[in-house]
C-alpha cells in the first residue's frame, strides 16, 4: 500500500469514529451504521467493523457475521475500474460463470476482491437488464454484451494501454516544463 492510501485510510477511520459518536449504543443501530459506512466509503474495512463492535458493545465476530451475511456489503476497497459480471438467469445460461472465471484468472483475484494495485475489482451481479446481450459484463459504465472468454483479455488490455498512455503524456508534459 502506498502512502496516500494509508493517509486516506486514517482519514476514513477518524471520520468513522466521529460518525459512530452520533449513534446510541443499541444493537438495532448496527445495520444503519454499516450501511452508512458502506455508502460513504464503498467498503467496510475490518478495523472499521471492530470500531463498530466496540461502539455498540457487541463482539467483533458478531458484527462480522451480520456484515458478511448481506450481499450489499463489501470488504475490499473498490478498484479504479469496477468489473461487474452478470450471473442472472440469461447470462448464467449463456456461460456468465465462464466469463467471471476468466476475469478472475486474468486479474488473479476472486469476485468481491480488488487487485493489490487497486486498479481493478470484480463483482458478480444478478441481472443488469439487458438479457438479450447475454452474457454481459459491465466495466465502469460501459456495457460489454455478447461477452466471450477471448474478449476478456482485450478489455483489460485496453485499460492497461490507456493507463500507460496517460503516464507517458504526464511524463512528456513534465519534461517539457
Amino acid at each position: 500500500m502506498n502512502l496516500s492510501a494509508e493517509t486516506e485510510e486514517k482519514v476514513m477511520f477518524d471520520d468513522i469514529a466521529s460518525m459512530l459518536r452520533t449513534f446510541e449504543e443499541k444493537r438495532e443501530n448496527l445495520m444503519p451504521i454499516l450501511q452508512e459506512i458502506q455508502e460513504k466509503y464503498r467498503y467496510l474495512a475490518p478495523p472499521a467493523l471492530e470500531m463498530v463492535a466496540k461502539r455498540l458493545g457487541l463482539s467483533s465476530c458478531d458484527v462480522y457475521g451480520v456484515a458478511t451475511f448481506y450481499n450489499q456489503f463489501r470488504f475490499n476497497p473498490p478498484g479504479k475500474h469496477q468489473i461487474k459480471v452478470c450471473l442472472g438467469t440469461a447470462c448464467h445460461v449463456r456461460g456468465g460463470d465462464i466469463i467471471l472465471e476468466n476475469f478472475e484468472r486474468k486479474l488473479e483475484i476472486q469476485a468481491g476482491q480488488t487487485t493489490p494495485d487497486r486498479e481493478f475489482s470484480i463483482d458478480r451481479v444478478a441481472c443488469v437488464g439487458c438479457c438479450a446481450l447475454a452474457p454481459v459484463a459491465i466495466v465502469d459504465d460501459t456495457v460489454y454484451g455478447h461477452m466471450a472468454p477471448s474478449k476478456v483479455e482485450g478489455v483489460i488490455l485496453g485499460f492497461e494501454i490507456e493507463k500507460e498512455r496517460k503516464e507517458r503524456e504526464k511524463q512528456d508534459s513534465e519534461s517539457q516544463e
Binding site: L49, E50, S60, C61, G65, T68
Partner: protein, 218 residues
C-alpha cells in the same frame, strides 16, 4: 411431572422439558447434532431429531416440542427414518469423510448417527459437494477445519454462555457459511487460553486445539 408414551414405553419427565431431552434422559436415543441440554431456544437446524406425535399430520423436530401430559410419540417410524436419512445424507455430502485421519474418530457424532441409522458413511445417492474453503489458522490457540464442520452452532452457543460475548460466530451465508474468529485477537489470548469449551463441544472434530495431531496442511 408429566407422563408420556414413547415407543409404547411410559416415561416420566419434568414439565416444560423438550421432548428430545425427555427421551434422551430416559435412555431413548434420537439422532441429533445441534441440540444442547440447557439451550433455551433450540435452533432445530440439523433436522435429525424428527419424531411422530399422535395428533400431528407431519413428523416434528423433537427438540422444538415441549412435553405434554399423555403425549404419544413414535421415534422409529418409516417416515421419520426417511427424513433422518435424507438430512444425514445431505450433511455427509459436504463433509470430508476421512475418519482414519480425524481426531474425532470413534467419538464422532456422525459415526454414531450412521451406526444408529444403519447408514454407511459412503455416499450412494448424492454426489459429494465439498466446500472449497481454506483451513483457518488465524486463531492463536484453535484450528477450524470447515470441511469437517456441520454448522451445528454448539461452539457459538457455549462460547456465548461462558464468555458473555462470543469469540466466534457464524459468518457468510448459505453454502459458504463458516465459523469465524473475526477480530479481538488480543481478547482471544486471555479468554481462549483457558477455555477451549468450543473444541470440547464440537461433535465432529472441526474445532481443534492448536498443535494437536491430524490438522490438515498446517
Amino acid at each position: 411431572m408429566v407422563t408420556l408414551i414413547v415407543d409404547n414405553k411410559e416415561i416420566e419427565t419434568q414439565e416444560g422439558s423438550t421432548l428430545l431431552q425427555a427421551c434422551l434422559d430416559n435412555g431413548i436415543y434420537i439422532p441429533n447434532l445441534c441440540y444442547l441440554s440447557g439451550i433455551e431456544d433450540p435452533p432445530g437446524s440439523c433436522r435429525l431429531c424428527f419424531v411422530e406425535i399422535e395428533g400431528y399430520d407431519q413428523p416434528r423436530t423433537s427438540c422444538r416440542v415441549r412435553v405434554q401430559q399423555g403425549m404419544v410419540v413414535r421415534t422409529n417410524t418409516e417416515h421419520v427414518r426417511r427424513l433422518q436419512k435424507t438430512a444425514f445424507e445431505l450433511l455427509l455430502s459436504t463433509h470430508h469423510v476421512d475418519c482414519r485421519n480425524c481426531p474425532a474418530n470413534k467419538k464422532c457424532e456422525l459415526q454414531r448417527i450412521a451406526k444408529f441409522l444403519h447408514f454407511g458413511l459412503k455416499l450412494k445417492r448424492l454426489e459429494p459437494l465439498e466446500r472449497d474453503i481454506e483451513v483457518e489458522h488465524e486463531h492463536p490457540f484453535l484450528e477450524y477445519i470447515p470441511t469437517r464442520c456441520v454448522l451445528c452452532g454448539k461452539c457459538v452457543f457455549v462460547c456465548r454462555k461462558r464468555n458473555g460475548q462470543p469469540m466466534l460466530s457464524f459468518a457468510k451465508r448459505g453454502f459458504d457459511t463458516v465459523i469465524s474468529f473475526f477480530g479481538e485477537k488480543d481478547k482471544a489470548v486471555d479468554v481462549c487460553k483457558e477455555c477451549y469449551a468450543c473444541a470440547e463441544i464440537c461433535p465432529v472434530g472441526a474445532l481443534l486445539v492448536k498443535d494437536s495431531p491430524n490438522i490438515p496442511n498446517p
